[in-house]
Symmetry: C2
Protein backbone atom coordinates (compact mmCIF):
# COMPACT_ATOMS: atom_id res chain seq x y z
CA UNK A 1 0.00 0.00 0.00
CA UNK A 2 2.87 2.34 -0.62
CA UNK A 3 0.65 5.04 -1.97
CA UNK A 4 2.76 7.49 -3.87
CA UNK A 5 2.67 11.16 -3.16
CA UNK A 6 0.85 11.87 -6.41
CA UNK A 7 -2.25 9.95 -5.43
CA UNK A 8 -3.22 11.58 -2.15
CA UNK A 9 -4.36 15.10 -2.83
CA UNK A 10 -3.71 18.09 -5.02
CA UNK A 11 -1.78 21.03 -3.61
CA UNK A 12 -3.08 23.33 -0.97
CA UNK A 13 -2.87 27.09 -0.74
CA UNK A 14 -3.42 27.68 2.98
CA UNK A 15 -0.93 27.97 5.82
CA UNK A 16 0.93 25.22 7.60
CA UNK A 17 -2.17 24.15 9.46
CA UNK A 18 -4.11 23.60 6.26
CA UNK A 19 -1.33 21.40 4.97
CA UNK A 20 -1.38 19.44 8.22
CA UNK A 21 -5.11 18.91 7.79
CA UNK A 22 -4.61 17.59 4.28
CA UNK A 23 -1.95 15.15 5.38
CA UNK A 24 -3.89 14.08 8.46
CA UNK A 25 -6.95 13.32 6.37
CA UNK A 26 -4.81 11.21 4.08
CA UNK A 27 -3.52 9.18 7.01
CA UNK A 28 -6.92 8.87 8.65
CA UNK A 29 -8.27 7.61 5.33
CA UNK A 30 -5.81 4.78 5.53
CA UNK A 31 -3.71 5.77 2.54
CA UNK A 32 -0.65 4.58 4.41
CA UNK A 33 -0.60 1.46 6.54
CA UNK A 34 0.94 1.57 10.01
CA UNK A 35 4.68 1.17 9.99
CA UNK A 36 4.95 2.39 6.43
CA UNK A 37 7.40 5.15 5.58
CA UNK A 38 5.86 8.53 4.91
CA UNK A 39 7.12 10.65 1.98
CA UNK A 40 10.26 12.64 2.64
CA UNK A 41 10.20 16.36 3.34
CA UNK A 42 11.73 17.18 -0.02
CA UNK A 43 9.05 15.32 -1.92
CA UNK A 44 6.28 16.93 0.08
CA UNK A 45 7.82 20.34 -0.57
CA UNK A 46 7.84 19.68 -4.28
CA UNK A 47 4.41 18.09 -4.46
CA UNK A 48 2.67 20.87 -2.55
CA UNK A 49 5.04 23.57 -3.78
CA UNK A 50 5.55 24.60 -0.17
CA UNK A 51 8.64 25.66 1.68
CA UNK A 52 10.38 23.14 3.88
CA UNK A 53 9.37 25.22 6.84
CA UNK A 54 5.66 24.81 6.20
CA UNK A 55 6.10 21.12 5.58
CA UNK A 56 8.09 20.69 8.76
CA UNK A 57 5.55 22.62 10.81
CA UNK A 58 2.76 20.50 9.38
CA UNK A 59 4.64 17.29 10.10
CA UNK A 60 5.32 18.53 13.61
CA UNK A 61 1.58 18.79 14.17
CA UNK A 62 1.03 15.26 12.92
CA UNK A 63 3.83 14.08 15.16
CA UNK A 64 2.29 15.88 18.11
CA UNK A 65 -0.95 14.00 17.60
CA UNK A 66 0.83 10.67 17.44
CA UNK A 67 0.00 10.01 13.81
CA UNK A 68 3.62 9.74 12.69
CA UNK A 69 6.98 9.12 14.27
CA UNK A 70 10.03 10.99 13.02
CA UNK A 71 13.64 10.19 13.80
CA UNK A 72 16.69 11.73 12.25
CA UNK A 73 18.28 9.44 9.71
CA UNK A 74 15.46 6.92 9.53
CA UNK A 75 12.72 9.11 8.19
CA UNK A 76 9.01 9.38 8.93
CA UNK A 77 6.83 6.36 9.59
CA UNK A 78 3.09 6.13 10.18
CA UNK A 79 2.24 4.93 13.67
CA UNK A 80 -0.30 2.32 14.59
CA UNK A 81 -3.85 3.41 15.26
CA UNK A 82 -3.43 2.36 18.88
CA UNK A 83 -0.83 5.07 19.33
CA UNK A 84 -2.89 7.87 17.88
CA UNK A 85 -3.85 10.55 20.38
CA UNK A 86 -7.58 10.18 19.98
CA UNK A 87 -8.21 12.64 22.79
CA UNK A 88 -6.24 15.43 21.20
CA UNK A 89 -8.74 18.15 20.22
CA UNK A 90 -6.86 18.61 16.99
CA UNK A 91 -7.53 14.99 16.23
CA UNK A 92 -11.25 15.40 16.81
CA UNK A 93 -11.27 18.29 14.40
CA UNK A 94 -9.53 16.26 11.74
CA UNK A 95 -11.87 13.34 12.23
CA UNK A 96 -14.92 15.57 12.02
CA UNK A 97 -13.67 17.11 8.79
CA UNK A 98 -13.28 13.74 7.18
CA UNK A 99 -15.93 13.08 4.54
CA UNK A 100 -15.70 9.30 4.85
CA UNK A 101 -15.31 8.66 8.59
CA UNK A 102 -12.85 6.06 9.77
CA UNK A 103 -15.07 3.06 10.54
CA UNK A 104 -13.06 1.63 13.42
CA UNK A 105 -12.65 5.01 15.08
CA UNK A 106 -16.35 5.75 14.87
CA UNK A 107 -17.08 2.41 16.46
CA UNK A 108 -14.53 2.91 19.23
CA UNK A 109 -15.66 6.43 20.03
CA UNK A 110 -19.28 5.39 20.08
CA UNK A 111 -18.52 2.40 22.28
CA UNK A 112 -16.84 4.81 24.66
CA UNK A 113 -19.82 7.15 24.67
CA UNK A 114 -22.10 4.19 25.26
CA UNK A 115 -20.23 3.24 28.37
CA UNK A 116 -19.31 6.63 29.75
CA UNK A 117 -22.01 9.10 28.85
CA UNK A 118 -24.75 7.74 31.09
CA UNK A 119 -22.40 8.13 33.98
CA UNK A 120 -21.50 11.65 32.93
CA UNK A 121 -25.19 12.48 32.97
CA UNK A 122 -25.33 11.22 36.53
CA UNK A 123 -22.55 13.59 37.46
CA UNK A 124 -24.27 16.42 35.61
CA UNK A 125 -27.49 15.83 37.49
CA UNK A 126 -25.55 16.19 40.73
CA UNK A 127 -23.40 19.16 39.83
CA UNK A 128 -25.17 21.22 37.17
CA UNK A 129 -25.49 24.92 37.89
CA UNK A 130 -28.12 27.30 36.57
CA UNK A 131 -25.76 28.35 33.83
CA UNK A 132 -25.23 24.74 32.82
CA UNK A 133 -28.96 24.13 32.65
CA UNK A 134 -29.38 27.24 30.52
CA UNK A 135 -26.73 26.00 28.13
CA UNK A 136 -28.31 22.59 27.82
CA UNK A 137 -31.78 24.04 27.30
CA UNK A 138 -30.54 26.48 24.71
CA UNK A 139 -29.02 23.66 22.71
CA UNK A 140 -32.20 21.64 23.03
CA UNK A 141 -34.28 24.53 21.72
CA UNK A 142 -31.91 24.89 18.80
CA UNK A 143 -32.27 21.22 18.02
CA UNK A 144 -36.04 21.45 18.00
CA UNK A 145 -36.13 24.52 15.81
CA UNK A 146 -33.81 23.11 13.20
CA UNK A 147 -35.34 19.66 13.22
CA UNK A 148 -38.18 20.24 10.78
CA UNK A 149 -36.17 21.63 7.90
CA UNK A 150 -34.03 18.97 6.20
CA UNK A 151 -31.87 21.74 4.76
CA UNK A 152 -30.60 22.66 8.21
CA UNK A 153 -29.02 19.32 9.03
CA UNK A 154 -25.63 20.81 9.76
CA UNK A 155 -27.07 23.37 12.10
CA UNK A 156 -29.00 20.60 13.80
CA UNK A 157 -25.80 18.61 14.21
CA UNK A 158 -24.11 21.61 15.82
CA UNK A 159 -26.89 21.95 18.35
CA UNK A 160 -26.72 18.22 18.97
CA UNK A 161 -23.01 18.51 19.69
CA UNK A 162 -23.64 21.52 21.91
CA UNK A 163 -26.26 19.59 23.87
CA UNK A 164 -24.00 16.70 24.74
CA UNK A 165 -20.98 18.91 25.27
CA UNK A 166 -22.98 21.01 27.73
CA UNK A 167 -23.66 17.85 29.73
CA UNK A 168 -19.97 16.99 29.86
CA UNK A 169 -19.27 20.54 31.02
CA UNK A 170 -21.94 20.25 33.67
CA UNK A 171 -20.00 17.42 35.29
CA UNK A 172 -17.69 20.17 36.56
CA UNK A 173 -14.62 18.05 36.12
CA UNK A 174 -11.90 19.24 33.80
CA UNK A 175 -11.10 15.76 32.51
CA UNK A 176 -14.65 14.84 31.61
CA UNK A 177 -15.11 18.27 30.14
CA UNK A 178 -12.23 17.76 27.74
CA UNK A 179 -13.81 14.58 26.54
CA UNK A 180 -16.81 16.46 25.26
CA UNK A 181 -14.69 17.30 22.25
CA UNK A 182 -14.89 13.69 21.15
CA UNK A 183 -18.54 14.17 20.36
CA UNK A 184 -18.23 16.15 17.19
CA UNK A 185 -16.80 13.46 14.94
CA UNK A 186 -19.25 10.91 16.28
CA UNK A 187 -22.27 13.12 15.72
CA UNK A 188 -21.11 14.34 12.34
CA UNK A 189 -20.79 10.74 11.25
CA UNK A 190 -24.30 10.12 12.52
CA UNK A 191 -25.74 13.02 10.56
CA UNK A 192 -24.01 12.02 7.37
CA UNK A 193 -24.96 8.37 7.50
CA UNK A 194 -28.47 8.24 8.85
CA UNK A 195 -31.44 9.25 6.79
CA UNK A 196 -33.27 10.71 9.74
CA UNK A 197 -36.79 9.82 8.97
CA UNK A 198 -39.23 12.20 10.56
CA UNK A 199 -40.45 9.69 13.12
CA UNK A 200 -36.97 8.84 14.24
CA UNK A 201 -36.15 12.51 14.66
CA UNK A 202 -39.18 13.26 16.79
CA UNK A 203 -38.34 10.29 18.95
CA UNK A 204 -34.76 11.46 19.29
CA UNK A 205 -35.82 14.94 20.33
CA UNK A 206 -38.18 13.54 22.92
CA UNK A 207 -35.45 11.43 24.45
CA UNK A 208 -33.07 14.38 24.58
CA UNK A 209 -35.71 16.39 26.37
CA UNK A 210 -36.07 13.66 28.96
CA UNK A 211 -32.35 13.85 29.68
CA UNK A 212 -32.61 17.57 30.21
CA UNK A 213 -35.60 17.22 32.50
CA UNK A 214 -33.86 14.61 34.61
CA UNK A 215 -30.78 16.78 35.04
CA UNK A 216 -32.91 19.80 35.82
CA UNK A 217 -34.74 17.83 38.49
CA UNK A 218 -31.43 16.57 39.91
CA UNK A 219 -32.37 12.95 39.46
CA UNK A 220 -29.17 11.03 38.66
CA UNK A 221 -30.78 7.68 38.01
CA UNK A 222 -33.37 9.13 35.67
CA UNK A 223 -30.63 11.04 33.87
CA UNK A 224 -28.64 7.86 33.40
CA UNK A 225 -31.60 5.92 32.08
CA UNK A 226 -32.66 8.72 29.75
CA UNK A 227 -29.15 9.03 28.38
CA UNK A 228 -29.06 5.30 27.74
CA UNK A 229 -32.24 5.66 25.74
CA UNK A 230 -30.80 8.53 23.71
CA UNK A 231 -27.73 6.48 22.90
CA UNK A 232 -29.82 3.46 22.01
CA UNK A 233 -31.68 5.60 19.52
CA UNK A 234 -28.40 6.95 18.18
CA UNK A 235 -27.04 3.43 17.86
CA UNK A 236 -30.08 2.43 15.88
CA UNK A 237 -29.71 5.42 13.56
CA UNK A 238 -26.02 4.68 13.14
CA UNK A 239 -26.67 1.04 12.39
CA UNK A 240 -24.23 0.03 15.10
CA UNK A 241 -24.69 -3.32 16.75
CA UNK A 242 -26.93 -2.90 19.72
CA UNK A 243 -24.85 -1.98 22.71
CA UNK A 244 -27.11 -3.85 25.09
CA UNK A 245 -24.14 -5.64 26.51
CA UNK A 246 -22.36 -2.40 27.20
CA UNK A 247 -25.48 -0.67 28.42
CA UNK A 248 -26.29 -3.48 30.73
CA UNK A 249 -24.45 -2.34 33.76
CA UNK A 250 -22.96 1.08 34.21
CA UNK A 251 -21.91 1.61 37.77
CA UNK A 252 -24.75 3.32 39.49
CA UNK A 253 -24.39 4.87 42.87
CA UNK A 254 -21.17 5.16 44.84
CA UNK A 255 -20.65 3.13 47.94
Amino acid sequence: MTTLSQLPLPPDAGGAQALATTLAHAILSGKWASGETFPRERDLCEHFSASRNRVRNALAELSGSGLIDRTAGRGTVVRDIEDWHLLDPQMSEWMAGLEAPHPQLVREVFAFRLSAEPFVSELAALAATGQDLARIESALVGMCESAADPARREEHAEHDVAFHDAIYRASHNLVWRQMGLLLRPSIVALIQHSHHQAGSLDDSLDRHRQVFDAIRLRDPEAARDATERVLARTAADLGVENGARQLQRPASLPL
Copy 2:
Protein backbone atom coordinates in the same frame (compact mmCIF):
# COMPACT_ATOMS: atom_id res chain seq x y z
CA MET B 1 2.04 38.36 38.51
CA THR B 2 3.97 39.47 35.45
CA THR B 3 6.90 37.26 36.24
CA LEU B 4 9.85 38.41 34.22
CA SER B 5 11.86 36.04 32.10
CA GLN B 6 14.80 36.15 34.48
CA LEU B 7 12.92 34.59 37.34
CA PRO B 8 11.63 31.35 35.81
CA LEU B 9 14.56 29.09 35.09
CA PRO B 10 18.21 29.09 34.03
CA PRO B 11 19.11 28.14 30.48
CA ASP B 12 18.79 24.69 29.05
CA ALA B 13 21.16 22.76 26.85
CA GLY B 14 18.87 20.16 25.29
CA GLY B 15 16.89 20.26 22.08
CA ALA B 16 13.65 22.01 21.35
CA GLN B 17 11.67 19.48 23.33
CA ALA B 18 13.72 20.08 26.45
CA LEU B 19 13.06 23.79 26.14
CA ALA B 20 9.35 23.10 25.75
CA THR B 21 9.44 21.04 28.94
CA THR B 22 11.12 23.87 30.82
CA LEU B 23 8.54 26.40 29.66
CA ALA B 24 5.64 24.03 30.27
CA HIS B 25 6.78 23.41 33.82
CA ALA B 26 6.93 27.14 34.37
CA ILE B 27 3.36 27.57 33.19
CA LEU B 28 2.09 24.55 35.10
CA SER B 29 3.71 25.98 38.20
CA GLY B 30 1.54 29.04 37.81
CA LYS B 31 4.31 31.51 37.09
CA TRP B 32 2.01 33.24 34.65
CA ALA B 33 -1.67 33.79 35.31
CA SER B 34 -4.18 32.99 32.60
CA GLY B 35 -4.60 35.78 30.08
CA GLU B 36 -1.18 37.17 30.84
CA THR B 37 1.23 37.85 27.99
CA PHE B 38 4.09 35.40 27.65
CA PRO B 39 7.63 36.66 26.93
CA ARG B 40 8.36 37.45 23.30
CA GLU B 41 10.37 35.13 21.11
CA ARG B 42 13.34 37.53 21.08
CA ASP B 43 13.56 37.59 24.85
CA LEU B 44 13.32 33.84 25.10
CA CYS B 45 16.05 33.45 22.49
CA GLU B 46 18.31 35.74 24.47
CA HIS B 47 17.51 34.30 27.88
CA PHE B 48 18.07 30.68 26.82
CA SER B 49 20.70 31.54 24.24
CA ALA B 50 18.75 29.51 21.73
CA SER B 51 17.96 30.10 18.11
CA ARG B 52 14.59 31.49 17.18
CA ASN B 53 13.84 28.20 15.51
CA ARG B 54 14.19 26.19 18.69
CA VAL B 55 12.14 28.70 20.60
CA ARG B 56 9.44 28.66 17.96
CA ASN B 57 9.33 24.86 17.90
CA ALA B 58 9.06 24.76 21.66
CA LEU B 59 6.28 27.35 21.65
CA ALA B 60 4.51 25.35 18.95
CA GLU B 61 4.42 22.38 21.30
CA LEU B 62 2.97 24.47 24.09
CA SER B 63 0.42 25.85 21.67
CA GLY B 64 -0.46 22.34 20.54
CA SER B 65 -1.25 21.37 24.11
CA GLY B 66 -3.45 24.39 24.63
CA LEU B 67 -1.19 26.03 27.18
CA ILE B 68 -0.71 29.21 25.19
CA ASP B 69 -2.42 31.03 22.36
CA ARG B 70 -0.34 32.79 19.72
CA THR B 71 -1.62 35.26 17.16
CA ALA B 72 0.45 37.35 14.82
CA GLY B 73 0.69 40.93 15.95
CA ARG B 74 -0.79 40.42 19.38
CA GLY B 75 1.78 38.10 20.89
CA THR B 76 1.58 35.04 23.11
CA VAL B 77 -0.86 34.76 25.99
CA VAL B 78 -1.29 32.02 28.57
CA ARG B 79 -4.62 30.25 28.27
CA ASP B 80 -6.99 29.40 31.07
CA ILE B 81 -6.58 26.05 32.80
CA GLU B 82 -9.96 25.02 31.43
CA ASP B 83 -8.56 25.20 27.92
CA TRP B 84 -5.51 23.07 28.60
CA HIS B 85 -5.51 19.75 26.80
CA LEU B 86 -5.32 17.56 29.89
CA LEU B 87 -5.67 14.41 27.81
CA ASP B 88 -2.69 15.15 25.63
CA PRO B 89 -0.02 12.55 26.48
CA GLN B 90 2.59 15.27 26.30
CA MET B 91 0.71 17.08 29.00
CA SER B 92 0.72 14.03 31.25
CA GLU B 93 4.44 13.76 30.82
CA TRP B 94 4.93 17.37 31.78
CA MET B 95 2.69 17.02 34.80
CA ALA B 96 4.50 13.88 35.95
CA GLY B 97 7.86 15.64 35.67
CA LEU B 98 6.73 18.48 37.86
CA GLU B 99 8.32 18.41 41.28
CA ALA B 100 5.51 20.33 42.95
CA PRO B 101 2.33 18.99 41.37
CA HIS B 102 -0.40 21.41 40.40
CA PRO B 103 -2.90 21.02 43.23
CA GLN B 104 -6.06 21.65 41.25
CA LEU B 105 -5.01 19.33 38.46
CA VAL B 106 -4.19 16.52 40.86
CA ARG B 107 -7.60 16.94 42.41
CA GLU B 108 -9.38 16.98 39.08
CA VAL B 109 -7.54 13.98 37.72
CA PHE B 110 -8.12 12.02 40.87
CA ALA B 111 -11.80 12.93 40.90
CA PHE B 112 -11.98 11.60 37.38
CA ARG B 113 -10.27 8.35 38.31
CA LEU B 114 -12.60 8.01 41.25
CA SER B 115 -15.61 8.18 39.01
CA ALA B 116 -14.34 6.35 35.95
CA GLU B 117 -11.90 3.70 37.06
CA PRO B 118 -14.34 1.35 38.79
CA PHE B 119 -16.28 1.26 35.57
CA VAL B 120 -13.15 0.61 33.55
CA SER B 121 -12.48 -2.35 35.79
CA GLU B 122 -15.93 -3.66 34.96
CA LEU B 123 -15.13 -3.46 31.29
CA ALA B 124 -11.79 -5.13 31.88
CA ALA B 125 -13.44 -8.01 33.71
CA LEU B 126 -15.65 -8.54 30.69
CA ALA B 127 -13.05 -8.12 27.96
CA ALA B 128 -9.63 -9.05 29.36
CA THR B 129 -7.62 -11.57 27.37
CA GLY B 130 -4.94 -13.87 28.65
CA GLN B 131 -2.31 -11.39 27.57
CA ASP B 132 -4.05 -8.63 29.50
CA LEU B 133 -4.16 -10.78 32.62
CA ALA B 134 -0.48 -11.57 32.25
CA ARG B 135 0.32 -7.89 32.01
CA ILE B 136 -1.71 -7.04 35.08
CA GLU B 137 -0.20 -9.88 37.08
CA SER B 138 3.31 -8.95 36.04
CA ALA B 139 2.78 -5.41 37.28
CA LEU B 140 1.32 -6.72 40.50
CA VAL B 141 4.32 -8.95 41.11
CA GLY B 142 6.60 -5.99 40.47
CA MET B 143 4.69 -3.92 43.01
CA CYS B 144 5.03 -6.62 45.64
CA GLU B 145 8.73 -7.13 45.07
CA SER B 146 9.58 -3.46 45.26
CA ALA B 147 7.28 -2.74 48.17
CA ALA B 148 9.57 -3.68 51.00
CA ASP B 149 12.55 -1.55 50.09
CA PRO B 150 11.90 2.15 50.67
CA ALA B 151 14.74 2.95 48.28
CA ARG B 152 12.79 1.55 45.35
CA ARG B 153 9.87 3.91 45.58
CA GLU B 154 10.21 5.08 42.02
CA GLU B 155 10.26 1.54 40.71
CA HIS B 156 7.23 0.78 42.81
CA ALA B 157 5.46 3.77 41.31
CA GLU B 158 6.23 2.56 37.81
CA HIS B 159 4.72 -0.84 38.55
CA ASP B 160 1.74 0.88 40.09
CA VAL B 161 1.24 2.89 36.92
CA ALA B 162 1.68 -0.24 34.82
CA PHE B 163 -0.94 -2.06 36.88
CA HIS B 164 -3.64 0.53 36.36
CA ASP B 165 -2.65 1.18 32.77
CA ALA B 166 -2.96 -2.54 32.04
CA ILE B 167 -6.52 -2.43 33.30
CA TYR B 168 -7.36 0.48 31.01
CA ARG B 169 -5.83 -1.48 28.14
CA ALA B 170 -7.85 -4.53 29.06
CA SER B 171 -11.04 -2.58 28.40
CA HIS B 172 -10.19 -3.08 24.74
CA ASN B 173 -11.46 0.34 23.78
CA LEU B 174 -9.06 2.79 22.22
CA VAL B 175 -10.50 5.79 24.01
CA TRP B 176 -10.33 4.32 27.47
CA ARG B 177 -6.89 3.01 26.67
CA GLN B 178 -5.62 6.49 25.89
CA MET B 179 -6.83 7.66 29.22
CA GLY B 180 -4.50 5.32 31.02
CA LEU B 181 -1.80 7.89 30.38
CA LEU B 182 -3.45 10.18 32.89
CA LEU B 183 -2.39 7.84 35.64
CA ARG B 184 1.27 8.68 35.77
CA PRO B 185 1.00 12.22 37.13
CA SER B 186 -1.59 11.15 39.63
CA ILE B 187 0.45 8.24 40.95
CA VAL B 188 3.71 10.16 40.97
CA ALA B 189 2.04 12.81 43.08
CA LEU B 190 0.87 10.07 45.40
CA ILE B 191 4.34 8.62 45.82
CA GLN B 192 5.90 11.99 46.49
CA HIS B 193 3.37 13.13 49.01
CA SER B 194 2.43 10.12 51.05
CA HIS B 195 4.71 8.65 53.64
CA HIS B 196 3.65 5.13 52.90
CA GLN B 197 3.76 3.55 56.26
CA ALA B 198 4.31 -0.17 56.07
CA GLY B 199 0.78 -1.03 57.13
CA SER B 200 -0.74 1.23 54.55
CA LEU B 201 1.41 -0.34 51.86
CA ASP B 202 0.47 -3.89 52.73
CA ASP B 203 -3.16 -2.92 52.71
CA SER B 204 -2.76 -1.24 49.35
CA LEU B 205 -1.11 -4.32 47.86
CA ASP B 206 -3.85 -6.54 49.16
CA ARG B 207 -6.53 -4.37 47.59
CA HIS B 208 -4.71 -4.36 44.27
CA ARG B 209 -4.57 -8.12 44.35
CA GLN B 210 -8.30 -8.29 44.89
CA VAL B 211 -8.85 -6.24 41.77
CA PHE B 212 -6.70 -8.62 39.79
CA ASP B 213 -8.49 -11.66 41.15
CA ALA B 214 -11.89 -10.20 40.30
CA ILE B 215 -10.86 -9.46 36.74
CA ARG B 216 -9.28 -12.87 36.38
CA LEU B 217 -12.51 -14.50 37.55
CA ARG B 218 -14.52 -12.31 35.15
CA ASP B 219 -16.61 -10.85 37.91
CA PRO B 220 -17.45 -7.25 36.92
CA GLU B 221 -19.21 -6.28 40.12
CA ALA B 222 -16.41 -7.58 42.30
CA ALA B 223 -13.90 -5.77 40.11
CA ARG B 224 -15.80 -2.53 40.50
CA ASP B 225 -16.03 -2.87 44.27
CA ALA B 226 -12.39 -3.83 44.63
CA THR B 227 -11.31 -0.88 42.50
CA GLU B 228 -13.37 1.46 44.63
CA ARG B 229 -11.55 0.13 47.67
CA VAL B 230 -8.17 0.67 46.02
CA LEU B 231 -9.07 4.24 45.21
CA ALA B 232 -10.39 4.83 48.69
CA ARG B 233 -7.03 3.74 50.05
CA THR B 234 -5.26 5.95 47.54
CA ALA B 235 -7.46 8.87 48.52
CA ALA B 236 -6.55 8.34 52.14
CA ASP B 237 -2.84 8.21 51.32
CA LEU B 238 -3.16 11.33 49.23
CA GLY B 239 -4.96 13.17 51.96
CA VAL B 240 -7.81 13.94 49.61
CA GLU B 241 -11.21 14.54 51.10
CA ASN B 242 -13.18 11.37 51.49
CA GLY B 243 -13.94 9.94 48.07
CA ALA B 244 -17.64 9.57 48.64
CA ARG B 245 -17.93 13.30 48.91
CA GLN B 246 -16.11 13.77 45.65
CA LEU B 247 -18.34 11.30 43.91
CA GLN B 248 -21.38 13.27 44.86
CA ARG B 249 -19.87 16.66 44.18
CA PRO B 250 -17.15 15.91 41.62
CA ALA B 251 -15.19 19.11 41.63
CA SER B 252 -15.23 22.64 42.84
CA LEU B 253 -17.62 25.47 42.25
CA PRO B 254 -20.92 25.05 43.92
CA LEU B 255 -23.56 27.29 42.51
